[in-house]
Symmetry: D2
Subunit: 287 residues, 4 copies
């Protein structure tokens, strides 16, 4: 789907499945003169998921009134969980990196060229290595070296910084540190990681070495929301590329870089388009 | 989506886009106690497309009453074109073949094993070559040799046979004859062909030779509805496979066989699931 | 590479890497008037791998003399392990199945249509279910029901049958029994299995259920040589297909069937072309 | 294959096929103490292609002597065309761009991060648009606005600049001008373009619009050497991505950007590794 044009509202819902849900939501919008530009629904194991987008010009309710009306007319009667987004909001991203630059370059290029309509107020790292890249793109770079002793304090400082900058989404762009619950709980379903394997194969450290050792004929990359279980959060996107016996570990690393940056970017895009709903440990990714 | 369970109704609609369409259709179903199990919509250039499926048990209208109610309450007020299908209908397929057996084996295997819930009352060919395959699977085989002189008469005879057997869908499984308007007009959007290239590249004869000559690094296959323009009808499905300089034309033919049979089977499956809507020369293929 | 034309010799070698190996082998062939039609080499961790094919017409040595000359002039001086094959040998395959027919249909179709130039003297199963398929294709079907008590005796009987029929390659076409060492040791690197996941993810039973539970966005299939470690033998081929939240377990099973049959067929083809060399627990698959 | 380690020689050959070619080349290297680290050969329609790489330390000939020995002992006796490269040479690239930045960002990121070991002494454009990107990465940017009247003179000026900087390879990174024979003849098989379609489908202008109009289900990108026939030169690499009816032209453009930058980078990498040989209008791309 095209990047949602300005001035649309996007409503994400999940609720116990029951007859009449689509009729209720679409009726709610139609009665107020809203023209639906996208509607996707999904039902899985008795749970109903909906993403609906409609044009705001000509719609009877203001953005301020809309939330209250959804609550009283839809959410309460049908027991819905819901999120409301507006396409003219500009999401604010923080990027976490360590020493590998390829995902960082890729994200900054998409931002600087206007491919992504987001703000990136800061980059956080546990190493100084990539400060020149951040500076070259004009983004403030904050280095928080981490040791076992300092980890807790540093992450609390990072969290303060994220809050001070009103960050909506944290992107771990090959950040080589396990993120602690203090951050995860502050940003539930709002921290996206890229893991350099086709999960659940080769979770943990050195997946390319493990893939080479096992002799697989395809390698992959996986983007997922971060949860407290390492490399086990809800998967947003995955992709793969063929390899052969000719590929040494260094070749897997080289070929994997391109996979990683593309799969991470696609996951962030899906999140920013408000196409993703989590349930249990899985995702609905509308297109 | 899973093969639709028995006892669902499937309604396909296209109409001029306007506010209230989803509300009207979903309301129509909800008011009569129908539980929607799948709903997909799409809007393109002012045209609205919808596929909605709901459970018939507990629904207030009988199958016989349903068509009339759709007509008066939905189609006429909103200017809709529509098709209504029932999942307990068993589609009837005719297979057209010439001398290459791989798509035929694949289709007959899916039918015989119960993977496809269809009837195949007959196979039509312009050659005797594949009669033993048809006989081995117990399907009547009708041979209509075709020359420039006999073509018109033979196709009329084929059409009578298709009608006598109440055929819903014609599958050209590497049938190496251009099908005439007499057949195409009798089965609009109901004849599916497999072309052994990534259309629109290499339309016409000998696409593997042309692909080799051009030095492409990927070959493809395309399934499409047959129209009067050769290899130019609405595309339902496509897939590709990488090749290299090591692949001679014979290798392209060998690798292409697997592509062809899978891409043809996926297109037929999509059609049988009533997931496909044509508009202009393109398709909406809901999933 | 094209299916090797009749009347070529194929020599597979691995040896400790050292200067002069390619020169020695290619010189050996050239001095006797052999024209090399394919030569691939690979070096990994100090081990040298070579596959070379040359035309026999005009070659100075007969097939009978060739082995001795390779041994004395190449293998002994360079410490090579080697296999010699002739393209006019017609490999003899045994197929093992249980109750799922799609890989069996696919293999028998390739055999009956002449796509594969092999003999299939027998099909072995632990169930009667697929006897009609075997009979329809005219292949003897041997049923060996297996319980914990009978397993050892039944596998010994199977082994006798394989030997009596001079079987070169055993293909496990969704055979749902763990094969015992007695068979594995008799056919080292000559039993090919298809596992219905992207190994090493989801080894063992019910991989599609596990994939659905984990919420992956891609499913796969893996063909490998059978070793005593379940689903852990050298991988020959893998492929994948995208899925989404819309796909229930039944959809994964349906989409997986096409993957399984294609990936198994490609692995068997590579083996039959003598393109595969094992080392450690990995494979070199020349193309 | 891993990026060739420093201090190897790479010899590319094509010659009329004849017995003894591999033996002659590998013997030439072995007799002088060279250890072959990679050897690939290919025969197509009576033409023999070879890429061989060997370690220079310990090799009996100096880089200066090597060319003469190849000429007299191999090239002349066997009628070979050949190129000799050394892995410690650092290739010099010129990038041509217009207004779209994604391929430029991608290339500059690979260069700046050290992923590619090349020099990029200059960027040439027919627009000022991307000067800030060049400056941000510290690369001289030369703008040559082009009109029908100035084209010839401007291209001659560009050519002088390329020669002054001793450029080995020209990369057209979404350069939206047809390049004239004056440049093409100066850099035969050394100008790589990215075309935003799966060639030969949708050659020429606006391929994404054409793809959308035709209703294809997959889009592609193609990297090729530039010849005087527009979009018709030898193809080096291609890749594709699936699309659906939900994708408007803007979505094709967005999804295509990622394809374009990856396919262009892979082609440049193959060229830089000296893996590519042209023949007729096709390529051998060794891996």
């Amino acid at each position: 789907m095209a990047q949602t044009s300005p001035d649309t509202a996007i409503l994400l819902i999940h609720a116990p499945d029951q007859p009449g849900l689509v009729a209720a939501v679409s009726g709610f919008i139609a009665q107020r003169g809203g023209n639906i530009v996208a509607l996707d629904e999904h039902v899985d194991a008795g749970v109903f998921f909906l993403r609906v987008a409609w044009q705001l010009p000509g719609f009877a309710l203001s953005a301020d009134e809309l939330g209250g009306a959804i609550r009283s007319e839809l959410a309460e009667p049908f027991g819905m969980s819901w999120q409301l987004h507006f396409s003219n909001q500009r999401p604010r991203l923080a990027i976490f990196v360590s020493t590998l630059p390829h995902c960082l370059y890729d994200i900054l290029s998409r931002w600087q060229s206007g491919e992504w309509r987001v703000d990136i107020p800061l980059i956080i790292s546990n190493h100084e290595t990539l400060r020149p890249v951040a500076e070259q793109f004009g983004i403030p770079f904050h280095c928080f070296p981490i040791t076992a002793e300092t980890k807790q304090a540093q992450e609390r400082a990072e969290l303060e910084l994220l809050r001070a900058h009103d960050i909506d989404l944290v992107v771990l762009a090959r950040y080589m540190q396990i993120v602690s619950p203090v951050l995860i709980e502050a940003y539930p379903e709002r921290i996206i990681n890229i893991h350099h394997s086709f999960l659940p194969a080769f979770a943990g450290a050195k997946p390319y070495h493990a893939a080479h050792e096992r002799g697989v004929k395809i390698i992959g990359a996986t983007s997922h929301y971060v949860t407290e279980d390492l490399d086990a959060g809800p998967i947003i996107d995955q992709d793969v590329t063929p390899i052969s016996h000719r590929d040494a570990v260094d070749d897997l690393i080289r070929k994997g870089r391109d996979l990683e940056k593309i799969v991470l970017a696609r996951a962030v895009w899906s999140h920013l388009q408000r196409n993703v709903l989590c349930y249990g440990n899985r995702t609905v990714v509308f297109e």
